[in-house]
Amino acid sequence: MKIHIPNSAWLGNIDPFLRNFDTSNPEILQITANKQWISIHPMVIAMIAALGLSLKPKQVECETIEARSKHYLKRMGLFDFLKIDSGIEITEHEPAGRFIPLKQIINSEKLTEFITEVIPLLHLSPEHAEPIRYILSELMRNVFEHAESKIGVIMCAQYYKKSNTIRIGIVDRGVGILKTISALHRAKTDLEAIRLALTPGITGTTKRIGGTDYNAGAGLFFIKSIATVNKDFFLIYSGNGMYKLLKADNRKDIRLHADPFRDKHSKGENFPYWQGTAVGIDINLDSTEEFSFLLDLIRKSYSRAVREQRKAYYKAKFI
């Protein structure tokens, strides 16, 4: 495998980075990087860390990172995850209020501990902390329920003062969305599976629209809705498929669509194969709506969406 850390890879311009990921020779991970400056989304860091975790240190070849911003990778804990000596020396400062370095979370109990202990370190006001811990909890719990990821979930996050935005990356190396969804629903491609996973009422645990007593099939729809209302980026990459919710037009009224393809988005189904799922989300704290308002919007659309989905899914069979 070869992965190149580019000069810039944010959710808005991440496609070239994803397309350049070389999945050949899975026994070796070769990491190269832009020599001038590296400015990358936490999802990129989490992806590289997840790749490295699946390998032994001798299987990881990382060129000497020359970029002036190389300290960032060190501080986020990337080289610790790769178990290699980067040769980069830094003086570590308290991360509180600025970032969450790479974390590996291996089960549901550890997730609860993480949410309880780490979120307060971001020093957010209650109205900002609420959607962020909600998103983290739901996305990571999805991994434990559906992904069968041997390395658990890898996440990191960074607060950007200038844009007043928190960017989060959550990655696993599990079975991927297609395998989970297609066991019970009609999905032939990774992108079709991502589309269904984002559709309210559809879960990988039952064929029944509306879910079971443990899964409603609502989690990803809620996350997408939070991103839609706040006009943030939200990206899911699994297998060869990638779906990216683009920032909604400020001038238009917000509509929460059951079908993610009706939202403003980009997508692709011929990306290099990612074993598992990678999710990136940006949360702009300037535009964060009051959480209860946001939930009210979701409530107004959710039941209708499930009903529509059920009608669209179950048809009379005439023979």
Partner: protein, 96 residues
């Protein structure tokens, strides 16, 4: 009426579905089976996820029917928790 205080079990952020399912199976279902009333007291709970509330109550609505909501009281819920409960109750009723 049985009262279940959620805070000691869930902490201020009720998000662990396994805990929700345990509460439903061990605390809620036995009360509802006897057609008695139960109060879920959210005092001190700042927020909850839809997944948590779903795991907490959807099974009861499915097993006993929509009318079982007459036997369940939600106490000391802030605005966000109320919204989440309303979402789950709405879609569970729409589903039956």
């Amino acid at each position: 009426m049985k009262i279940i205080k959620l805070l000691p079990k869930t902490g201020v952020f009720a998000e662990n579905k396994d805990i929700a399912r345990d509460i439903r199976i061990k605390d809620i279902t036995p009360v509802l089976e006897k057609n008695e009333e139960i109060t879920l007291d959210f005092e001190g709970v700042e927020s909850a996820t839809q997944s948590f509330i779903h795991a907490l109550i959807s099974g009861s609505i499915r097993d006993f029917g929509n009318e079982i909501l007459d036997n369940i009281y939600f106490k000391n819920c802030n605005k966000s928790v109320q919204e989440i409960i309303n979402i789950v109750v709405d879609y569970m009723q729409a589903a039956t």
